[in-house]
Symmetry: C2
Subunit: 196 residues, 2 copies
Amino acid sequence: MPKIVDHEARRRQIADAVHRVIDARGLDSVSLREVAAEAGMSMGAVQHYFAGKDEMLTLAMLHLNTRITLRVAGAAHDGTPLGLLRVALLELLPLDEERRFEARVGLAFLARSVVAEPLAALLREGMPLVLAFYSDQIRAAQAAGQMVADLDPGLEATVLFAFAQGMVNPLLIGHYRAEDAVAAIDYQLRRLSTGR
Amino acid sequence: MPKIVDHEARRRQIADAVHRVIDARGLDSVSLREVAAEAGMSMGAVQHYFAGKDEMLTLAMLHLNTRITLRVAGAAHDGTPLGLLRVALLELLPLDEERRFEARVGLAFLARSVVAEPLAALLREGMPLVLAFYSDQIRAAQAAGQMVADLDPGLEATVLFAFAQGMVNPLLIGHYRAEDAVAAIDYQLRRLSTGR
DNA sequence: TCGTTTATCATGCACTCGCATGATAAAAGC
DNA sequence: GCTTTTATCATGCGAGTGCATGATAAACGA
């Protein structure tokens, strides 16, 4: 048997390079050559790990999703359902450099998913999980008396998640400052917890 | 003087072709050749009306904005501030074929604005006008007794607009059906008008 | 030690890109 | 009629693209 290489690690390493290229120059200028240079390897090496550019992009998006999921799961909060819900929402917004990076890359994939079915399929698969997480926290908050009881957890999750997603671009282009976004999120959350 | 041509009309005509190409094959595959073919003219003709591809895209985005603005302004509603607000929100969502077209093209420009400053500048200029429109309607609705008085019109406008924007991609990739989106919008609006 | 398998590379190919160039046609003033 | 200005076109160029190919190196089993 030949040289031992961790395939999954290599693929993740390449996916990271894809993310950096998207962040720096946009998804349009993602080419096998650019990615290879960013990853510090030759173009042939990149080719070795993916059937083609599309597969590379699909895995890069999948890798971003797990990366964001892991960071959200590890985010600090006060231990209450409402606190967890709030943190999980704020983690989606480009409020610091790390989240700004992920938001830029994520928005690029989001837009491409409109014309690239494999990416759309990935989003469609992940969406129920994300929404279920939010509605679960809402239900838990209601059970803990942190939220008004007659809210519809599913609809509230839909509204909150879409709301956060819709804040991403205005933040990225500099329309809102970070504190404006936090204030808006807290404004909506306070309504759910105090009933006005 | 030579052949008389309405420059603005030609530029709008080309911008329309850009929109159709984006809708059909995505912003990535917008090239001078594709646009020229879609517009039924030669590549040289397109070059004649724009300094370069970037200028063409910038004007295409501007043209889309005015197109959407005009349609929203002409949308039918019940004459009340709340009704106008509702219609203005629903007009942003891809709920029928015309709005689906605009939403697809609009999302493509939105994503590119992250790495294309001229597009970001356009969005930043337009955003205050849009938000002012929404907050004006909220204030009017409050004055007319259609909405709870102690809402913050500015923050409500921010939440509503971002919420609607965040629904666009899930609708485009088929996660929500049109009626789901309408129900979510009405859910949030009902809270503003009934105080729960 | 030799052969097999894998990893990595440099290079070539057909294609597309944005843009520049020069030619042709058309319309108006002189 | 002739010139000038504008509109439109076909074509060429250098650069970059995704992908295929063949060579080289490395690591293990036989």
